[in-house]
């Protein structure tokens, strides 16, 4: 009898632990919209100004958007913009503290007020809009199609009845299977396999985010990105904690005023051009003044 009671209690304990584990594990992924979930109050614009530094969350392993160079210094397209924000707020590029974030916990960093702004290649989606506030976009991404120079695909109509390589779970897979059923898709789990398949000629072309294929084509002679921009256009924008209106408005103002000097074209030149080369039209990636 006693034994039964003990094991019952143990069972309840374990179940409770399990439940707690599951419900908390979801939060960092940021998948479900939790309107009621509390968040620590983010610093207002005045508080940031008073503190003298701004905390910006960036990637540290997403070359060329945010990465650490061999001397341990943070670099990249997002970082370049982050330094400019500090310069316009405090008059010095060094008044910024870069916090290295992971893709899965970007929303949590904002909700727990550990950073003021996220500048980590954050694609604007409706799901994320429920959790954070996005400022005006400063970049856009679409799909790109890379193919061998010998049989260059420069228009989607050329792909009819040909084989297109895609990676499972990417936007490319969704876009082509929904909008172009006439194209045969060859699917792989990993990028490396897909690139190998393209090099071996197992498919006529390969499609994924244009930033990815553009960079790859530069490094691999004999391949060119024939279609630089196709599919749904996604934008990338800075994000702040939901309700941090002052900071959001300041960022929007900043992005608008930077359009005058074509700041993001300059940013592109400094950080992305060395990777993408000068054959690519910056207009396919860069957004000035929030005007897509």
């Amino acid at each position: 009898m006693k034994k039964g009671l003990l094991s019952a209690l143990l069972g309840i304990t374990m179940a409770a632990g399990l439940l707690a584990g599951c419900s908390q594990a979801k939060a960092p992924a940021g998948a479900p919209a939790q309107e009621a979930s509390p968040s620590a109050k983010a610093r207002s614009l005045d508080e940031i100004k008073k503190a003298g530094t701004i905390r910006i969350g960036v990637f540290s392993d997403k070359n060329p958007f945010g990465y650490v160079d061999s001397n341990g210094k943070i670099q990249g397209y997002d970082v370049y913009f982050g330094k400019r924000i500090a310069k316009d707020l405090f008059g010095s590029e060094d008044k910024v503290e870069f916090v290295y974030v992971e893709a899965a916990s970007r929303v949590e960093y904002l909700k727990s007020a550990k950073v003021d702004v996220i500048l980590a290649n954050f694609t604007v989606t409706n799901e994320r809009k429920e959790q954070v506030d996005f400022a005006l976009p400063y970049m856009k991404v679409a799909l790109g199609v890379v193919s061998p120079d010998k049989a260059l695909i420069s228009d989607v109509s050329q792909l009819k009845d040909k084989t297109l390589i895609v990676v499972k779970g990417t936007t490319a897979e969704t876009y082509f299977s929904q909008n172009h059923p006439e194209i045969k898709l060859l699917k792989f789990d990993e990028y490396q396999e897909a690139y190998d398949a393209l090099a071996d000629g197992r498919g006529d072309a390969f499609s994924t985010d244009n930033t990815e294929v553009l960079a790859w084509a530069i490094q691999n002679k004999g391949f060119t990105v024939g279609i630089e921009s196709i599919g749904n256009l996604d934008t990338i924008a800075p994000a702040v904690q939901k309700g941090n209106t002052e900071l959001l408005e300041w960022l929007n103002g900043e992005i608008k005023s930077l359009a005058g000097e074509q700041f993001f074209h300059q940013d592109y030149k400094e950080t992305l051009e060395p990777v993408y080369g000068d054959e690519i039209d910056p207009e396919n990636l860069v957004v000035e003044g929030g005007q897509v």
Partner: protein
């Protein structure tokens, strides 16, 4: 000349950065282990209590820690504390708290099993010789317990060193993350860097964990003599 991936290690101060990252991992593990051993010893003794209620709460704590993945605990302490309690801990502090919380439970259970493995006649002989309760523990039980504990304690320590690779998710830059940064920064110029960087990290982990198990083996031998 072939473009060997190994060159990546000697660019800039990449190699040094890996060592600094390893130092971060090691520091977290050793500090947490220190607290875990201290608290775990006490917790282990509490666990041998005959009081039903005390045993129940000990069991509750142990099972909670065992069931919850350490990653969940890390998120809970790092982000959860900031959101719900307004306590903004640094990544390092959060990591030490979580690993100590985990280590204490594991260590406690090890101490409990070591204590219980000492035959009851050892206690009784002690009492018969006129030792008090404290005397029995100090001179008879604890020395024997420590010897039984050593191998499993070292096992826990090396597990802790390896588990520190989770802390990257709460923004602490340790050796694996530094490795990822190095691989990514050169992914267009040195595509096969991954193999070399992870290979070096593998050797680094070994270099850290091996001395611990050697030291334990030596200590064990010394105690036996």
């Amino acid at each position: 000349m072939q473009n060997l991936g190994i060159q990546i290690l000697f660019q800039g101060n990449n190699f040094l950065r890996l060592w600094v990252g390893l130092w971060v991992s090691l520091k977290l593990a050793v500090i947490s282990m220190f607290f875990s051993i201290c608290l775990g010893m006490l917790f282990g003794m509490v666990m041998t209590s005959t009081n039903k209620l005390v045993r129940f709460f000990c069991r509750l704590y142990l099972e909670t820690v065992r069931i919850m993945p350490q990653l969940v605990l890390l998120f809970l302490v790092y982000f959860g504390a900031a959101k719900h309690l307004n306590v903004n801990l640094s990544g390092g502090t959060a990591a030490v708290l979580v690993f100590t919380f985990w280590g204490t439970a594991e260590m406690g259970d090890l101490v409990r099993s070591a204590l219980e493995s000492i035959p009851v006649h050892q206690y009784q002989s002690g009492y018969a010789l006129g030792f008090g309760k404290i005397g029995v523990y100090r001179h008879i039980i604890i020395p024997q317990t420590i010897r039984r504990l050593l191998p499993s304690m070292m096992n826990l320590l090396t597990r802790m060193v390896k588990t520190t690779s989770l802390v990257v998710l709460i923004g602490v830059i340790e050796v694996v993350k530094v490795g990822k940064q190095i691989i990514d920064a050169s992914r267009y110029t040195v595509p096969d860097a991954a193999l070399w960087v992870y290979g070096v990290i593998f050797i680094m982990y070994f270099a850290v964990c091996y001395p611990f198990s050697r030291a334990a083996a030596l200590l064990d031998k010394k105690l036996r003599d």
